[in-house]
């Protein structure tokens, strides 16, 4: 697959699906933490398992992940897994900032720098080919 676009073939459709993926990631993570925070401190595996199937917030999280799964399969139709997944890493920043803002979690300099380093690493590793031709043509 040729790549005339300077953004390595980030087509409008692919960009839209990736943006949806980031928003869904952020919402799901915040609600997930919110749901778990409602459990007793020493919740056992069975309590956690039961809660996952009974508490309303967990149901919302599961629903978000089902939408995310559908959205992600659309992304994978258009791009290599190792190209598409790094772009959704923007959610590391959005989740951490939102947790600081909404939950009052600490964001010290070392944690902040670590998150930025993770982002840098993810972006560095996302510069490769968008779609490996040999692999795409290997469908049985």
């Amino acid at each position: 697959m040729s790549s005339k676009n300077p953004l390595h073939g980030l087509t409008p459709v692919l960009t839209l699906f990736l943006a949806i993926a980031i928003v869904l990631d952020t919402l799901a993570q915040l609600l997930w933490k919110h749901a778990v925070a409602g459990l007793p401190d020493d919740a056992s595996l069975s309590v956690t398992l039961l809660a996952v199937f009974s508490q309303p917030w967990f149901v919302v999280v599961i629903a978000l992940f089902l939408i995310q799964l559908w959205n992600w399969l659309e992304v994978l139709k258009h791009a290599d897994l190792s190209f598409a997944q790094p772009i959704t890493s923007i959610s590391y920043l959005t989740v951490s900032l939102a947790s600081w803002w909404l939950f009052g979690e600490k964001l010290g300099p070392l944690k902040g720098a670590g998150i930025l380093l993770i982002l840098a690493g993810v972006w560095l590793s996302s510069g490769g080919a968008r779609n490996t031709p040999a692999e795409s043509e290997r469908c049985p």
Binding site: S82, A113, S125, A134
Partner: protein, 110 residues
């Protein structure tokens, strides 16, 4: 082992499970004949990961647990090279190195 260390260990296991599940989903887009099977296996692994992550979240801040999940890129890189024969060049390997350093810094703040 303190709860935080246990939580960090659980997130590491989650990253491995995530890497394998992602490869299963990509397999589903490559093999029309076994599409649903691969999606099913992928979802199964995601469910296991979700349960482990829920336990980890009881002990960890989301601003620690979620960035640590970036270690799944290491798993995705390794598994997609090994099982999907996708390419993994020097630049990508350097990026994965930065992710590991960044995760170590975040984990130290748990």
């Amino acid at each position: 082992m303190s709860p935080v260390e246990l939580g960090i260990g659980l997130v590491l296991v989650c990253s491995l499970v995530e890497g394998f599940a992602q490869v299963c989903l990509k397999k589903s887009s490559l093999q029309d004949s076994a599409k649903l099977t691969w999606v099913g296996v992928g979802i199964g692994f995601f469910c296991i990961e979700a349960l482990l992550y829920s336990i980890a979240l009881q002990w960890l801040d989301i601003s620690v647990a979620y960035p640590l999940g970036a270690l799944s890129f290491l798993a995705v890189g390794g598994f997609s090279r090994w099982l999907l024969k996708e390419s993994l060049d020097a630049r990508r390997i350097a990026g994965l190195g930065l992710i590991v350093i960044g995760c170590a810094m975040v984990a130290s703040q748990g």
